[in-house]
Symmetry: C2
Subunit: 338 residues, 2 copies
């Protein structure tokens, strides 16, 4: 058994990579939310000067990766791999967005857990000795997601109380093998399994994802032997208010109490009541932008020293939904310390 | 600079993982092609007993992963990670297919280069000390791909001479940190960049992918200092006859002559003239099934001792095609020796 392995699903990094730069970009609505002081770029036009929503989404991740590299004071030639993906069919948001950087590219599909998947694989690639510098990124756009997954925007469909609002936003992180004092490091990775609880309501993604978040978080504490108090914050991706309360209950049933130090990026990014976002934010860009915008800065300032970050994803497509298949969940857990 | 790195895009594995099992499954048409003696399972019904093409595709990868584990004499509890992806929107073919194994899952999107991406990341994960055993897999299905990307099958659209036929097939590989005598090992990985030559003809994927194959293959020889003669076979994924001849010419322009020991899985899987498959096979399952069915067995028998395997992918979606965007290419290169 490899010395880096802890239990069934966790690895402990021997030379924890440093997060030497991070950048967050969001759209108009996100910029009017409670975290508006933390985002690095708030666009005043959700088209970002492009002709289509999909091209706007690509521009979003392109600008965000550029921002992360500037924040880390590096250029693209110094980056050995970029890990990225998104919700669009064939992950075209990321592919078209990052092509100009000319960096060897591993395309990912982890639905809204992508920020966790990209951070995990980028950190393992560095700790494994394959790279000195990697970028992990993701993005989503409200309008391209609505067009693809739901209804034409012009239709103005009524949203159910459990529905969530896809974040127009992106997050990008630069990871380095060099430890630079005062930068947070990725120490442990607990990789998620696919969890299928038979949920079929496409307007209740939180309920579909919560069991997978519970599964990965439970396994993280099992594998590491840590207690929940070890972390200053335990932060899921985009369960929203419905999924978050399910998660707390599911873990309580397993004698794990996260209520005291728990939060969810989907519950933080909007003022659901004032902004009419129902159960909260969702989309790859939700955990991406909130981690890079808010949590990364809190770690740098040592307001938090240890966080457990668990982006959550729903595995489905319009075809599987139309064929009556369940919405499965997957959640990837990344431990970060400064 | 990490000791494992060779040049801009290549890593040399320190403890090359062994391919301790592989399995290939294909549909009816592929089973009537020139490689029919090599595939492990040939289905006599492309529905595989399922109700929809998409569910048939999931069944295909499920059965193939099962076959690979049996071939390697392992059970799913011994596998620490599975890397897989496919062409379907939100990669649902793989996700629904592999969920029953309950293995920590990294979902990938590399279009038809996925077998190269999954082999690369699985090999790096083992060589990096994070796992003792990983599975790399992919699949595609003619009918689900036609429905999603082209026309309803019932429409019976005329195919252009440069078009390719999406393979109904799957390949899965079990990689291990333990070296078992007589099994091939992955020694080098050259990860592709996105190459955009402005090709917009969705019926000529070979031309769209060939420049990216040329880019990665050129870089592999630059980084390793090897000559083409080093390999018994240099094998691309699914360029087909049109893309393959473009690749040979592009590399000739850079003083690299691969013509003598080159082949393409897309040119091998069908008898294009008799089977009316125009320019050859394509799809994630093309290189997946041909590698696992044919090349793996040739390595085991030492008919070939060294191969360079370069699955090729086209990055696009129906949305980007409708918006006039180019079809970009990406190709991942894996060196395998016995």
């Amino acid at each position: 058994m490899s010395s880096k392995r802890l239990g069934r699903q966790t690895v402990q990094l021997e030379n924890p990579p440093s997060i030497i730069g991070a950048y967050s970009s969001v759209g108009v609505k996100e910029g009017k939310g409670p975290l508006n002081a933390y985002f690095d770029t708030i666009y005043d036009d959700d088209m970002l000067g492009e002709k289509t929503w999909e091209k706007a989404e690509s521009r979003l991740v392109c600008d965000t990766v550029d921002g992360a590299m500037q924040n880390a004071s590096i250029v693209s030639d110094e980056v050995q791999y970029i890990f990225s993906g998104d919700l669009l069919n064939q992950c075209v948001g990321s592919a078209f967005g990052i092509k100009k950087f000319n960096i060897p590219y591993f395309g990912l599909f982890g639905a809204c857990s992508t920020m966790g998947e990209s951070l995990s694989l980028a950190a393992m690639t560095i700790d494994g000795g394959f790279a000195d510098c990697c970028i992990a990124a993701t993005e989503s756009h409200f309008c391209s997601a609505e067009r693809q997954f739901r209804f034409p925007l012009e239709y103005g469909g009524v949203r159910t109380p459990t529905s969530q609002w896809t974040v127009t936003g992106s997050g990008a992180v630069v990871l380095s093998s060099k430890h630079i004092k005062g930068t947070p490091r990725i120490t442990h990775i607990t990789t998620g399994r696919i969890v299928d609880m038979g949920i079929v309501d496409a307007n209740n993604m939180g309920a579909a994802m919560a069991p997978s978040a519970a599964d990965t978080i439970y396994q993280h504490f099992e594998d590491t032997g840590r207690k929940t108090e070890y972390y200053d914050k335990i932060v899921t991706g985009d369960l929203g208010s419905v999924g978050a309360s399910i998660l707390i209950d599911l873990l309580k049933d397993k004698n794990i109490d996260i209520a005291k130090n728990y939060n969810d990026c989907g519950m933080m990014i909007y003022d659901d009541e004032k902004q009419d976002t129902k159960a909260g934010g969702s989309g790859c860009g939700c955990s991406g932008s909130v981690f890079c915008g808010y949590y990364y800065k809190q770690l740098i300032k040592k307001h938090f020293n240890k966080i457990l970050f668990i982006p959550t994803g729903a595995l489905m497509s319009t075809t599987t939904a139309q064929q009556g298949d369940p919405i499965m969940g997957i959640s990837h857990c990344v431990a970060i310390e400064i």
